[in-house]
């Protein structure tokens, strides 16, 4: 049995949350967890890296909430999907940024009350998001993203894939991360 470990599957599609041009030579996929401190750190590195690459990179975010370690992570992921369904992709990315920016405000900074507040700030109707969380409307969507990560060989959060291959290098340094993307672009 041959196993190609660390290969992104399924490939990026219209189902994904995507920033950047569809014909960019580099596709960077992150499997992330909104309650994961390492992901919050990556969130501070990524804008600088993506800025350097400009139009040559598109960035994709997929959910990989580690619910046993991070009790609010699954609802945070579901809340971002609820916002995306209501107000579209711009809303998703605003919600994504708000959750990472506020992650370390306090122990309760990603509880349902806060998620609903951020959803309002991201342009969604807070009461609709509250209903979606209570009804687990996006539970399956988030679970399916998580399982695609498991299938792709995600081995912790964040895990990055550059053009479909798991990235084992250093994402904490803007220079090193940008260099890896540069080499994939050529």
């Amino acid at each position: 049995m041959t196993t190609q470990q660390g290969t992104l599957r399924p490939a990026v599609s219209v189902e994904d949350h995507v920033l950047g041009p569809a014909d960019a030579p580099v596709t960077l996929v992150e499997y992330g967890d909104f309650q994961c401190p390492h992901c919050a750190r990556a969130h501070r590195v990524l804008p600088k890296v993506l800025k350097r690459l400009g139009d040559r990179t598109r960035f994709v975010f997929r959910h990989f909430p580690l619910g046993e370690s991070h009790p609010d992570a699954i609802h945070a992921a579901e809340a971002s999907e609820s916002v995306a369904a209501q107000v579209g992709e711009e809303g998703f990315w605003r919600m994504h940024d708000l959750m990472y920016d506020h992650q370390r405000d306090g122990d309760d900074s990603l509880d349902d009350a806060h998620l609903i507040r951020y959803a309002g700030q991201a342009g969604a109707d807070p009461s609709m998001v509250a209903l979606d969380l209570a009804a687990d409307t996006y539970e399956q969507a988030v679970k399916s993203s998580f399982m695609s990560g498991v299938r792709s060989g995600v081995n912790g959060t964040p895990t990055f894939f550059i053009n479909g291959r798991r990235f084992e290098g250093d994402w904490t340094s803007v220079d090193a991360f940008a260099a890896a993307l540069e080499s994939a672009a050529t």
Binding site: Q5, L66, S69, V150, S152, G153, N155, G156, E168
Partner: protein, 166 residues
């Protein structure tokens, strides 16, 4: 670099063992006959990469259980250490203390370090290794290979066993 030539290969009967999981409890591999076992050797409790690997498997546990598979983590740490590690990371599967070391029989013992390699074995219900994988010690191998191996065991059982479902 890991020596990939000595790790036990698919088709080999899995060497049986009985190892402590807590100071007064042991786990015996052959007790799991009839269902698959995932044996995950890792170098040490507490090191950040290991934590990630066991935390990941903890999150994927329900997928392993869909295949009726039992997951056993195994390292040279003692049962007290395992207990503290499992409690802190909220792990819902046993961690075995490999003081023998059993890892040597599986071809995944690092003699100089006195630790196990980072290696995975998927053993079928008959006690035969169906998949093995040796990872570079610093790289968490993820769970994709394990799930594929479990699916392949299921497919084999459905294809070959008339007693299935009887």
């Amino acid at each position: 670099m890991p020596n990939a030539s000595k790790i036990l290969q698919p088709g080999t009967p899995a060497p049986d063992f009985s190892l402590p999981v807590t100071p007064d409890q042991r786990v015996t591999l052959s007790d799991f006959r009839g269902r698959p076992v995932v044996l995950a050797f890792y170098p040490a409790d507490w090191s950040p990469v290991c934590g990630d690997q066991m935390v990941l498997y903890n999150e994927v546990l329900s997928e392993f259980h869909k295949h009726h598979a039992e997951l056993l983590g195994i390292s040279v740490d003692g049962p007290w250490c395992h207990g503290a590690f499992a409690a802190q990371r909220k792990l819902h599967f046993p961690l075995l203390a490999d003081f023998e070391p059993v890892a040597r029989q599986y071809g995944v013992y690092r003699e100089h370090e006195g630790t196990t390699e980072r290696a995975l074995f998927v053993i079928d219900g008959e006690g035969v290794i169906r998949w093995s994988y040796l990872s570079p010690v610093g790289v968490n191998p993820g769970a994709d290979g394990i799930l594929e191996a479990l699916e392949s065991i299921d497919a084999r059982a459905h294809a070959g066993s008339p007693s299935d479902g009887a």
